[in-house]
């Protein structure tokens, strides 16, 4: 189990984006994803599009129709992009105005459950989502229309 905190990634009047950073890590989860693919020749085209998909979500809102379901029915874990791509980026979509980005990787032909790396990213976010819901219930986390207020650390 590792300790992590919620940190701010970017915001607009339509959407606030957060990510997670594990204690002791140099980079947040979304920055790990960025650093993994930014110089990749093989995945460059898909990666550049995906970053711009995120930018347009930031500018318009995190509407459900922009995402694909990839977690369980009971959680809010979703993935990008919707269309066929060699990459998958995972996130927790709290609402049209709040999105929490996680890490991601390359999508092989098999389902994510059979890929240890991707499965790990999804499990981390599923656990985070569960702790977030518990925190809202016990009052240690306050979710407003477009923000998450917490200084809590999360045991993931």
């Amino acid at each position: 189990m590792s300790e992590a905190e919620l940190i701010m990634y970017d915001q607009s009047d339509k959407c606030t984006m957060y990510t997670i950073q594990f204690t002791g890590d140099e980079d947040s989860e979304i920055e790990k994803f960025y650093n993994k693919f930014k110089d990749s020749l093989e995945y460059n085209a898909d990666f550049n599009k995906l970053i711009n998909v995120l930018l347009n979500i930031l500018d318009t809102g995190a509407f459900e129709r922009y995402f694909r379901y990839e977690g369980k029915v009971s959680d809010r874990v979703m993935a990008l992009p919707v269309l066929s791509s060699k990459l998958r980026l995972y996130c927790v979509r709290l609402s049209d105005r709040i999105l929490i980005l996680g890490n991601g990787g390359t999508k092989k032909s098999r389902p994510y459950e059979e890929d240890d790396e991707l499965r790990g990213y999804v499990l981390t976010l599923q656990k985070f989502d569960k702790l977030l819901k518990e925190g809202v219930r016990d009052g240690s986390i306050i979710v407003t229309e477009n923000t998450i207020d917490t200084d809590k650390t999360f045991e993931l």
């Binding site: 960025y34 550049n48 711009n52 930018l55």
Partner: protein, 89 residues
Amino acid sequence: MKHTKMSLREMAAQTPAEVQQEVKMEFAVSNRIYQLMVSKGLNQKQLAIALGKRPCEVNKWISGQHNFTLRTIAMLTTFFGEPIIGVAE
């Protein structure tokens, strides 16, 4: 609350300008189609049936991530009876 070292806007600024433009246009067309669909009181399934398409096709159109052909745009412009895109004179 702490911030990431690099914001999304800073990351996106590093990507090629033509990709930025492409994705922006895809989202704009997609959101216009969604807006027309809602203004006509249609949901995804109803629009698919009205056009003789599969619901997953409509799902792609409104995902913000579809590379539309002019054929599809022409078909949807005709169906809605309203413009989806404009061309500079």
